[in-house]
């Protein structure tokens, strides 16, 4: 029964992925007729140079960026929720995203460039920013590991995550005060979150790191399932718990850092999507949860992306949309926690 539900859910999510991707291809701030889009996709060209560029260098990269970002953040959330045994954990609420953001801010400032998510096209500056994001996310994860050993309460760990976010944003504010006006503007717009920041040239690095990390997460399903029983049972099942935890947090850190560096600190997706996957599958078995979370994450991110171009008055920031989708779901989960199996 559960297997049929899995197949059904995965098929539905894939179908939604295709439809949403098509939606993102067709709808945008510039109106391009569908038949012309088909011509461009078929390699014939639409006869309108601007349209060709919009589809091939803006919309298609944006679709890929959004889908990968959604999958990456959602898997980060899932790994954090299992690792910390905390259903309300997620990369943004635990401050991992803000840590990555701080890393980005410091690197950009140190390189003397403008502050914000503006990437140079050179591989070197790309790498420097990625490393900055990675170090920032890593530092926050270390803080979380240290505190999780001391405070046993789930709620306290969430509060520590929120405190870390405040602290990093205050450091960023301080950095902003010494940055140029343009830098500040860039930083603020980066903070809105957007999926159009990855160019075709940057795509291999961005996509490569995310896909590799997602594959890595898929290989961790066995220890992840053991961790559902807590550290002691996992050890009894032959799992090296501290090593597993480090690998899981490394994957989380890399995924969150890459997405944050390129797309800004995107909230809610990482927290909400694992719950969508669990509720629609009716299981916390990671063998089925990991693929469903990846697909659902991609779907939700594309949905946000589609919503962001839905206004006739210009682009709506992604971070203005994610709470609208995320908050009702979280409230539903909190209000129904007695009826949802995985809380019991």
């Amino acid at each position: 029964m559960t297997y049929r539900r899995f197949i059904f859910t995965i098929t539905g999510l894939m179908l939604a992925l295709v439809l949403l991707a098509l939606g993102c291809l067709v709808f945008g701030s510039v109106n391009i007729p569908v038949d012309k889009i088909m011509d461009i996709l078929a390699g014939r060209g639409s006869g309108n140079k601007a349209w060709d560029i919009i589809i091939l260098q803006s919309r298609i990269p944006m679709i890929a960026t959004a889908a990968l970002a959604g999958a990456a953040l959602s898997i980060s959330g899932l790994l954090l929720q299992t690792t910390f045994n905390n259903p309300l954990a997620g990369p943004s609420i635990l401050g991992v995203s803000s840590g990555a953001g701080l890393g980005v801010a410091i690197v950009i400032l140190a390189m003397g460039g403008t502050l914000g998510g503006l990437f140079g096209e050179t591989l070197g500056s790309n790498m420097a920013i990625l490393v900055g994001a990675l170090l920032g996310a890593g530092a926050v994860l270390m803080v979380l590991i240290a505190f999780s050993a001391i405070v046993r309460s789930n709620t306290m760990l969430l509060i520590i995550g929120i405190l870390v976010s405040y602290l990093t944003s205050s450091v960023v504010q301080l950095l902003n005060s010494v940055a140029t006006e343009e830098g500040v503007h860039n930083y603020v717009s980066w903070g809105f979150g957007n999926f159009s920041g990855v160019s075709v040239a940057q795509m291999p690095v961005y996509a490569g790191i995310i896909v590799l990390s997602l594959v890595g997460a898929a290989f961790m399903v066995k220890p992840l399932n053991a961790l559902l029983l807590g550290a002691r049972y996992a050890r009894n099942l032959g799992i090296n718990v501290s090593r597993t935890r480090n690998i899981l947090l490394l994957i989380t850190g890399v995924l969150t850092a890459v997405v944050t560096a390129y797309c800004g600190p995107i909230g809610f997706i990482g927290l909400v999507v694992p719950h969508i996957a669990r509720i629609s599958l009716g299981t916390s078995n990671h063998t089925r949860l990991v693929p469903a979370t990846i697909l659902a994450g991609a779907d939700i991110a594309l949905l946000c992306s589609l919503a962001s171009v839905s206004s006739p008055h210009g682009i709506i920031p992604i971070n203005a949309i994610t709470p609208v989708i995320g908050v009702p779901i979280i409230l539903y989960i909190i209000l129904n926690r007695r009826r949802i199996q995985y809380f019991n």
């Binding site: 029964m1 559960t2 299992t82 045994n85 290989f219 399903v221 066995k222 399932n225 053991a226 559902l228 029983l229 807590g230 002691r232 049972y233 050890r235 009894n236 099942l237 032959g238 799992i239 090296n240 669990r278 009716g282 299981t283 916390s284 078995n285 063998t287 949802i340 199996q341 995985y342 809380f343 019991n344």
Partner: protein, 247 residues
């Protein structure tokens, strides 16, 4: 044996020399804080003993890999688990992890063992139910089935009958007795349930108030008066008639 608490070392038990034999159900008794859980944690290598060694069939347990240990000792503890959305079959299937490959996939043989373990633990009727929907007693049976699926010669249980009503307690104890006697497993459990342990266990390990561990059968320990040294409270006394304590 004991634990380190920052710079302080708390020694709970010293000079232990305990033997756990195949085919026997052994109950570990002692008052709260006596060191039952710490002793069990040391035996499952969740904590290092301050000194000394633990050997299974002549092999040092602490020097084994985690994987090898997981094939020797199955554990049922009181820790809260996050597995409400797993079915009983899925949960018991996790017990196969020491025997499965990298991704933890179960083959046909594993599935047969999982079903057999659920049948042995008397939980097969709930095989497709969510863990969240089970009663405390059924949950405990599912956890025991999980340990059975691990197919270890030793099963260690930390207070398996806590939180259970009398009927489930007796059922659980009888189940463990069967596992020891009919399957030849060495079963060690800690318990606060004195009379049942005394009636059903083949051997008792008593942690006395002067931090000794006395071992023997119920008959031997009752006859030696050892039962009087289990609790610090001088107002309660062991009553051999009911195999329990009273004022």
């Amino acid at each position: 044996m004991g634990y380190r608490n920052g710079k302080n070392t708390v020694t709970l038990l010293k000079g232990l020399n305990l033997n756990l034999e195949q085919g026997k159900l052994v109950a570990l008794l002692g008052q709260n804080g006596a060191g039952k859980s710490t002793l069990l944690r040391a035996l499952t290598c969740d904590e290092r003993p301050l000194d000394g060694s633990i050997e299974v069939n002549g092999r040092n347990l602490q020097e084994m890999s985690q994987k090898d240990r997981s094939r020797l000792i199955g554990l049922v503890s009181t820790e809260r688990i996050q597995a409400g959305a797993l079915t009983v079959t899925e949960l018991v299937g996790l017990g196969r992890q020491p025997h499965t490959g990298f991704l933890g996939r179960l083959d046909d043989e594993d599935r047969v063992i999982v079903r057999q373990s659920m049948a042995d633990a008397g939980i097969i009727g709930k095989a497709d139910e969510y863990m969240a929907s089970l009663s405390d007693g059924e949950r405990q049976k599912a956890m025991i089935a999980r340990a059975l699926a691990q197919q270890t010669p030793i099963i260690i249980l930390d207070e398996p009958t806590a939180f259970l009503d009398v009927a489930s307690r007796i059922e659980t104890m009888r189940l463990l007795q069967t596992l020891a006697h009919d399957r030849g497993k060495a079963v060690l459990l800690s318990s606060h349930d004195i009379s049942q342990s005394l009636m059903l266990a083949d051997e008792l390990w008593l942690i006395t108030t002067d931090r000794q561990v006395l071992t023997g059968t119920t008959r031997q320990l009752v006859a030696s008066g050892a039962m009087e040294h289990l609790f610090t409270n001088r107002d309660i006394h062991f009553n051999p008639q009911i195999l329990d304590y009273s004022f």
